[in-house]
């Protein structure tokens, strides 16, 4: 524990790290400022939910009809349009047609039998989820009304993704800084010939991982404090993520089935529990990238070269994954969708069926767990090798 504290102290004494963290926070505040329009609409929807509840039923519709008139004719028209929709609203999950989705995906992925069979299996599981969610009436939740999809896009695809990227970068920086600290200060010889010796690098790896987690959580706490100061979630904490208003999740895909299919989470997530789950998985993913950095850092033994290797690994894996998606090379795309970089890209689809992007249920969780094991095992092996290697000073 004592040595772990010393490693944390080394990290705490790095001004560049804190400067970078401060810049990240500033950037997140700019992002929040840039999304104020969506925030305003979200807050209006949330205020309705506070007043009327989440479930769209007869009471909700009656209450909605009695809402005070809007300030402008345009807004009033929108309100009337929404009231019409609410009156006709039915449970979309109850009429989820998995057979046609299966058929469409089977044709689409026919060039890759493995991808097609995995997708078929996933859709069957998703159909069971849709059936369950239909029984709970989750699709009938209001969330924040028509702005829900766009708002969740802003929250998870922009704001959270920025936060996750910053957390990952801070984790990578922390790990590289700690692994290279002795070389930079010319203390490697004295440290490696001490009783603890090269085993200190185990402590460094542990300190790097814990620091990555701590910095990520610090960013999350501070950024979401600013977020909740602007975004009023009082009406949506208990809203089901499977609300039919929560669409537009996969609208980045050219594959048009995605944009019209419901948001199908693998568990009965509310907005609150989904946010918590996303933040937790983000922490795990930040640890994955930090562990991968540890492998490069220990094997290469130079922070700059290790950083370059890490950047190449991330960009190359993401580029191949994305190109295979754009080109429809599903045989390549399927295994590559299990890479950390592709997982990072798909923050908006975590814990959902994920459309064309995911091939198994809970793919983001499975992928993160897999890479935690690979990263942890790889770091252990790299450290073992480091123990038997000459110290380069």
């Amino acid at each position: 524990m004592s040595l772990l504290k010393y490693e944390w102290r080394k990290l705490a004494g790095m001004p560049a790290l804190w400067a970078f963290a401060a810049m990240c926070l500033l950037f997140n505040c700019v992002l929040l400022y840039a999304t104020l329009w969506t925030c305003r609409d979200f807050n209006e929807g949330s205020a309705i939910a506070v007043q009327l509840g989440q479930r769209v039923d007869a009471d909700f519709i009656a209450g909605f009809a009695q809402l005070p008139p809007a300030d402008t004719p345009e807004k009033q028209a929108e309100q009337d349009k929404l009231l019409d929709f609410l009156r006709k609203m039915d449970d979309t999950l109850a009429r989820y047609d998995s057979a046609s989705v299966r058929q469409e995906y089977a044709e689409f992925l026919s060039v890759s039998p493995l991808s097609a069979s995995l997708m078929d299996w996933k859709i069957q599981r998703a159909a069971l989820r849709a059936e369950h969610l239909a029984q709970t009436g989750a699709a009938m939740d209001f969330f924040v009304g028509p702005i829900t999809g766009q708002a969740n896009g802003v929250i998870y695809k922009i704001f959270f993704k920025a936060l996750l990227s910053e957390g990952i970068m801070l984790g990578i920086l922390s790990m590289l800084f700690l692994l290279d600290y002795e070389r930079n200060n010319r203390t490697a010889a004295a440290v490696c010939s001490s009783r603890v010796g090269r085993k200190l690098w185990r402590t460094k790896a542990l300190a790097g991982v814990t620091a990555a987690l701590a910095l990520y959580l610090l960013l999350v706490i501070l950024s979401f404090t600013a977020f909740f100061a602007l975004w009023n979630w009082s009406g949506v904490w208990n809203a089901s993520m499977a609300s039919q208003f929560n669409t537009g999740i996969f609208n980045q895909s050219d594959f048009n089935y995605d944009s019209c299919r419901p948001f199908l989470p693998w568990a009965d997530f509310t907005a609150g529990s989904y946010l918590l789950a996303i933040i937790t998985l983000g922490a795990a993913l930040a640890v994955v990238f930090t562990l991968l950095t540890a492998i490069f850092g220990v094997l290469i033994g130079n922070a700059y070269a290790s950083a370059l290797a890490m950047v190449i690994f991330i960009i190359a894996s993401w580029a191949i994954w994305y190109t295979s998606y754009m080109q429809g090379c599903w045989a390549v795309f399927t295994p590559l969708s299990f890479l950390p970089a592709s997982l990072w890209d798909q923050t908006l689809g975590w814990f959902t069926d994920g459309g064309i992007m995911y091939f198994i249920p809970w793919q983001e969780t499975v992928t993160t767990a897999l890479w935690l094991i690979l990263g942890g095992g790889g770091t252990a092996l790299a450290l073992r090798r480091f123990n038997r290697k000459d110290v380069r000073i």
């Binding site: 200060n185 010319r186 203390t187 010889a189 010939s193 009783r195 000459d390």
Partner: protein
Amino acid sequence: MLSVEHVTKKYGDFTALENVSLTFTPGVYGLLAPNGAGKTTLIKMLTTLLFPTSGQILWNGEDICALDETYRGLLGYLPQEFGYYPGYSPRQFLRYAAALQCISRRETEERIDRLLHLVGLEDAANKKMRQFSGGMLQRVGIAQAMLNEPELLILDEPTAGLDPRERVRFRNLIHSLASDRTVILSTHIVSDIETIAGQIIMFRDHKLYCCDSPAAICKQFQGKVFEVPVGTAVQPGQFLLSERQGEHGAVVRLLCDMPPEGGVPVTPGLEDAFLAIYRENVE
């Protein structure tokens, strides 16, 4: 007892040390060789920073690599280039070094106080090391090397940066420490070890040249070192060793088998022996 048995260290095609065998018992050993002769390579192998390409190093009959932390726990080491954390004070740095040596907290403070006094840094104990001179940093390095009261103390160029007063103090310190432990001192400054080393180890062409007492090494050149006035032409077969101020002006020391004209025979010192042994390198 530390034994080096047929140790060779190669870096690719380059052989840094070849088939070196040595035995170290309590006492002071001076590693004396020009830069690049393999001193630091041997020291890095003795401190487990490098692994021998072939051969083995044994501590009381057990391989030091197998002994791992048990061996390193009885080792004190001052690297050639002593690194430090600029934002730490000597006291903080020594506390960290104590944690690396797994010394209990209770013992740590007592040892730190004693060592800071020993190296004359009590007054600067809590100052940031970024303000320190080279000599002060070297003294912190010496203190950290002795923190675990090592049975085997290895010092690589320990007097670099020390002023003459500090050098004398350091030599006295080493002398007092050597009674019950092995001290290996690497240097290319002859005066550092001339008076305190019981055995001198020399390398030549990356091989062990000798391991003997200073007297025995100097004896090889008995009757072959002469002083002549400055300006005397150096003849073939004569080798210029050094120059110094004599009673009647500057004189040069020559190494030759036959006495030179006007030459005064002198008792060869370790520096003469060093220069004589490595004369090809100088030439």
